[in-house]
């Protein structure tokens, strides 16, 4: 509790910077059914999974979800939370296809807006810049224009007269991203090789919420190098401390993707009875229960029982330590 007090913005150096520390459930309490919500990360990489899990527990529904999609999209599809999905792909990276997303599409359970990856970036950037659209070559000649008949082209007003796709701005009601570190005022820090488009999700949103592996004093942020400080507190409405919060996606360098768990997720998702068991085991409680179940599974897989729930934390939960075959074998048994 002392650490918590010391990390509050107002206590850190005596100034009155707004304190934005909140819980996952606090964030979800600010979401409403029917909202357009952007989710950061890329595929099965650095996804704000603890926030997604909090949405699963809530009565929020009919969401328009915007994502370079991974298991965030899959879980929200499985829970029936998505009315419309805006995406360029949905993939688990090391497993190329997302089973819940596939199932939802194949029974036409969700409406879709399928864009080229670069168009999606442009849509978020246009919203960030408060422009109605940005011109783009990507999409021309493809069926992106066929399956999205609302898309228009625009002609260059200059001598070239080039006709391009006018990618409409995609303003978000809320953005959810997961970073490695943040301070309690909303300054975020990524420590891996790629920010992905997390800053754009934040700037395209009315309200952005950052979960992170650890909340640190502001004074510690610059030591990691200025280029890592791309998410600023003016973009951010709330900060959640979520150790292992991206699980089972990767959160380099804090931890790798939990490949064994991801395989178990996929195996379970392909069979309704298995999925019920999986959901009961991992998704029936709160975030603490989830992390405890993951830790218990990991301890069982290691066969040593040394990683009890009490040791929970980003450092001790390296995904690479999980006996990869064990979970998969169990789930498919």
């Amino acid at each position: 509790m002392l650490r918590w007090l010391k990390l509050r913005g107002a206590v850190d150096d005596g100034t009155a910077v707004a304190d934005k520390w909140m819980s996952e459930d606090d964030v979800v309490a600010r979401l409403r059914s029917g909202m357009t919500i952007g989710i950061g990360g890329w595929g099965s990489r650095r996804k704000p999974m603890s926030l997604v899990r909090a949405i699963l527990r809530s009565d929020v529904r009919d969401l328009t979800v915007v994502s370079y999609g991974g298991p965030d999209v899959g879980l929200l599809c499985a829970a029936g939370k998505i009315r419309r999905l805006v995406y360029a792909f949905v993939s688990l990276d090391s497993i190329s296809l997302e089973p819940h997303f596939q199932a939802a599409r194949q029974r036409a359970a969700i409406e879709v807006t399928e864009y080229d990856e670069g168009m999606l970036q442009w849509a978020l950037y246009a919203a960030s810049c408060r422009l109605p659209f940005l011109p783009c070559r990507a999409g021309l000649g493809s069926d992106v224009l066929t399956v999205n008949p609302e898309l228009r082209t625009v002609r260059s007003p200059y001598a070239d007269g080039t006709e391009l796709v006018a990618v409409p701005a995609l303003p978000l009601d809320a953005a959810l991203v997961h970073l490695n570190r943040a301070d309690a005022t909303g300054n975020g820090q990524f420590l891996g090789d790629d920010l992905y488009f997390d800053d754009l999700f934040c700037t395209a949103a009315e309200h952005a919420y950052v979960s992170c592996e650890r909340i640190v004093p502001t004074s510690e942020l610059a030591a990691g190098g200025l280029p890592r400080l791309r998410v600023h507190r003016w973009m951010v409405a709330g900060v959640v401390e979520a150790p292992n919060g991206a699980h089972f996606t990767s959160c380099a360098p804090d931890y790798d993707r939990d490949e064994g768990f991801q395989r178990a997720y996929v195996a379970a998702a392909r069979d309704p009875a298995e999925w019920s068991r999986f959901a009961a085991r991992y998704l029936s409680g709160d975030e603490h229960a989830y992390q405890a179940a993951v830790a218990a599974q990991r301890a069982a897989a290691l066969g040593a029982g040394t990683l009890g729930a009490g040791t929970l934390g980003a450092g001790t939960l390296g995904a690479g330590t999980l006996g990869a075959g064990t979970l998969g074998a169990e789930a498919s048994a």
Partner: protein, 271 residues
């Protein structure tokens, strides 16, 4: 006989009688993929999939030394290293996803993608099979294929050449083909540059009438009729079709000892 067995049988014949000697079909494919980047100079080679990745590394290690290659994540890395292993070479640059889009919109990239379907004029589908509103089989989504194809050179790799892949008309145009690009106007066609399609049977390009798919060479041990039968539309053929060139001894050594010592290539193409 299954398609795969047919391929294997053909390869066995080739091994005994062709110029390829004990060279495997996968090794022929690696070299054929490498050839896609010949002459490209100082651009980023973006292979998707195992054999194209081996091909890109081989091209840079031999005849196309100025190519840039990533570690599969966000770094340009120098040197030549093994499939499935981390890149040990010196990092040349930082290329997070946002910079990838800058790079591809500038045209300084040549991608090799793997289509689920590809048609006579090079339209390629990686998104979904069937009606887009309710697909029979949902795949990845269009990913970056629409932007890649209208911005910079694109090649394709098909590990199993079959009528289900080479279709008269793709269900969803993700990668833009020559007919679609032409119909969409000058901005779509300006940089559309489909280079070659490498398969487990043959090398093809778009040098046929109106940029139709054309058979360039068949791999040692593969008959032209076999390729024609495995293609679900009329294939352009100019006279006698040569054999795909085998690896040089130096290339073979690089493939076997440096790029793929674990033999992962044989898991993608047999024989």
């Amino acid at each position: 006989m299954t398609g795969l067995e047919a391929v294997g049988a053909a390869a066995a014949v080739g091994a005994g009688s062709g110029a390829a000697g004990d060279v495997s079909r996968a090794e022929i494919c690696v070299v054929a993929c490498a050839e896609a980047w010949r002459g490209d100079g100082e651009i980023a080679a973006s292979p998707m999939g195992l054999i194209p990745t081996a091909g890109a590394r081989l091209a840079r290690a031999t005849f196309e030394p100025d190519l840039l290659l990533t570690d599969g994540e966000a770094r340009f890395v120098a040197g030549t290293w093994a499939l499935g292993r981390p890149a040990p070479g010196p990092v040349e640059g930082w290329i997070p996803f946002r910079s990838v889009f800058d790079l591809l919109w500038a045209g300084r990239r040549h991608v090799m993608m793997t289509p689920a379907q590809i048609d006579r004029y090079g339209n390629a589908n990686i998104s979904a099979i069937g009606d887009h509103a309710r697909p029979a089989r949902q795949l990845l989504g269009v990913r970056g294929a629409p932007g890649n194809t209208v911005n910079h050179p694109t090649s394709y790799w098909v590990p199993r050449h079959q009528p289900r892949v080479f279709v008269p008309r793709v269900d969803m145009v993700c990668g833009v083909g020559y007919d679609s690009g032409r119909a969409a106007g000058p901005a779509a066609a300006a940089f559309l540059d489909l280079r070659r399609v490498v398969t487990n049977l043959a090398v093809l390009d778009f040098g046929g009438p109106d940029h139709a798919l054309r058979l360039v060479s068949v791999h040692p041990g593969v008959a032209v009729d076999e390729v024609v039968a495995a293609t679900g539309f009329e294939l352009a053929i100019d006279g006698a079709v040569p054999e795909t060139r085998p690896p040089t001894p130096a290339e073979l050594r690089l493939i076997r000892e440096v790029i793929d010592p674990a033999g992962l290539r044989d898991g993608e193409v047999r024989g």
